[in-house]
Symmetry: C2
Subunit: 329 residues, 2 copies
């Protein structure tokens, strides 16, 4: 088994039974009377990710109390929301790889991907309503807005070439960290409901989410296809500004800047050009800067839950932060 | 002014002020801090449709009582839901025309269309939660599921070529009538909340919605581009089975059937081929059959609200049914 998975399995040990409850909720949530929907669902379930968001909801719920049926429902819902955005991402990016297999839109075409994403969103909504909890609904609906608004903001800044570090942090907060923060906060909302618990778990998730995106940014510029299961250099190729690039851009000589722009402006960026871009960013400190920020956000995540007494659950949350820093996928 | 619009203006006369309240809710609902989102929203608002769904919510609310702030919110939400599905439809169909202007995806590309559709869905969700009404939420979430499930069912049947009349009615009920039925029922849910009112308005909307889709099917086979603002023959071109085609297929000789299949199987269907298909369907009674069904569903819609005392509001609902039968767009 891959090292990442071994680490994750250890982290999940204290919530093994909870994850089975989640799995039941999840499997039921996608059922339909339409045969084609069930075929696509099976394909999706077979190619599932690492369940990071449901794991976070359940760990948070155990940090704040005892999981309720709503905790498992909320966990299923966050995973559905995440999967729907992945499927829609595939459409819009025309990515050919997602977790190392042909993405759904290559198998079922764009039309079905958009509709299937919408179908899963509607199932998340049905699950959401079943929570019967307006606090949860408010939190989730504003999160849903941030997911798409964050991505559109990213495109706007890529078109107008006006991405700054502070806009970048705002953007990844919306498009990545908000969903992870809400996944954690739902652990509190579905158990103790205490404002204090909500704030702590939300902060934990938000900082972890920021660290998660920065790690992905680093993969984008460092990684390779077989390692990450994603097309590496994808963001660089599409002129999406990632943190290492933003830092380096602001910390290079004018002649370096002109050269970088020339490389970024090339319509087709082959491995040779991507390597050149990488070396310029490395040389001008962009990689180190992003790694420092990754550590910084990771520490802030751990600080957010420092007031809770030590326990296997708390340890698993801390280990998840470390898991992100060290993951090779 | 176009005859359709004159008729519609007359129908809306008794709810002129209500529609202003709806408009306020709607304009506020789409606001964002992201500039690109606001540009796209402006483009969408400029190219709005006929507001049929909000008109139905408001007329229904006045049929059952006095509109509440929630009635206007619900009206805005149904229009948002409708617009989001239109935008996603544009992506998946790669349609070049929508209401006679270049569709959003030609201006902003597929990526933004998917994300903008998702953004509008999330805004509909936020609006939904503000209703603070679980009856409404349950109704809306199952409707959202039907919208995408109905479209996926249509694709499945088009791929497997196993569309029957009864599956067709199930399919248009899900993909078109359910949203219109819920638009009407929300008029009752946000006012009297009486089960009887909910059932009557729901039935009215459901039958009207069926009639609406059959009218669109007739446009697809009869209409022309400048008349309908949509690409005519779009469904026929994509081998989507519409009601006239389904009836004719079952009521023609085997040699006619072979010829029809040959025409439908052609990858590129020019005007000449579409005309041939039209004549075969006309000859074998498909057009007349669909027109009869259109009248049938229209009458059933009117019957659904027959127990209400006569009023200008009831008359407007009846006139809307007639508007659909006679509309030329």
């Amino acid at each position: 088994m891959h090292q990442d998975l071994i680490t994750l399995k250890k982290i999940c040990k204290p919530i093994e039974n909870d994850l089975k409850e989640f799995q039941l909720e999840f499997d039921n949530a996608l059922s339909s009377e339409v045969r084609l929907i069930n075929s696509i669902s099976k394909y999706i379930i077979k190619n599932r990710g690492k369940n990071i968001r449901p794991i976070l909801t359940i760990l948070s719920s155990r940090l704040c109390g005892e999981p309720t049926p709503n905790s498992y429902r909320a966990a299923a819902m966050m995973e559905l929301l995440h999967i729907a955005t992945l499927i829609h991402d595939d459409v819009v990016d025309d990515a050919t790889l997602r977790r190392g297999r042909p993405s759904i839109n290559k198998v079922w075409k764009n039309k079905l991907s958009v509709l299937m994403g919408d179908f899963i969103l509607s199932k998340a909504l049905i699950n959401m309503v079943r929570l019967n909890d307006f606090d949860a609904l408010k939190q989730i609906s504003t999160t849903a807005e941030k997911l798409s608004a964050g991505e559109i903001l990213q495109i706007e800044k890529s078109i107008t070439r006006t991405m700054t570090e502070s806009i970048y942090f705002d953007m990844i907060n919306q498009k990545t960290a908000s969903l992870i923060a809400t996944s954690c906060e739902l652990g509190a909302i579905t158990t103790s409901k205490l404002e204090e618990d909500r704030q702590s778990t939300h902060s934990f998730g938000q900082y972890l989410g920021m660290a998660f995106q920065i790690k992905d940014d680093l993969f984008d510029i460092l990684g390779n296809e077989s390692d990450t299961g994603k097309n590496s250099g994808g963001d660089v190729k599409k002129n999406m500004w990632t943190l290492p690039l933003i830092f380096s851009k602001n910390n290079m000589t004018r002649s370096q800047y002109r050269l970088l722009n020339k490389l970024l402006n090339k319509k087709r960026k082959d491995g040779h050009i991507l390597k050149k871009i990488y070396h310029m960013v490395e040389e001008t400190g962009g990689i180190d800067y992003a790694k420092n920020k990754l550590d910084d956000f990771s520490n802030r995540a751990i600080d957010s839950i420092s007031s809770y007494p030590n326990s296997v659950i708390k340890q698993s949350l801390v280990d998840l932060v470390g898991f992100n820093v060290n993951r090779v996928k």
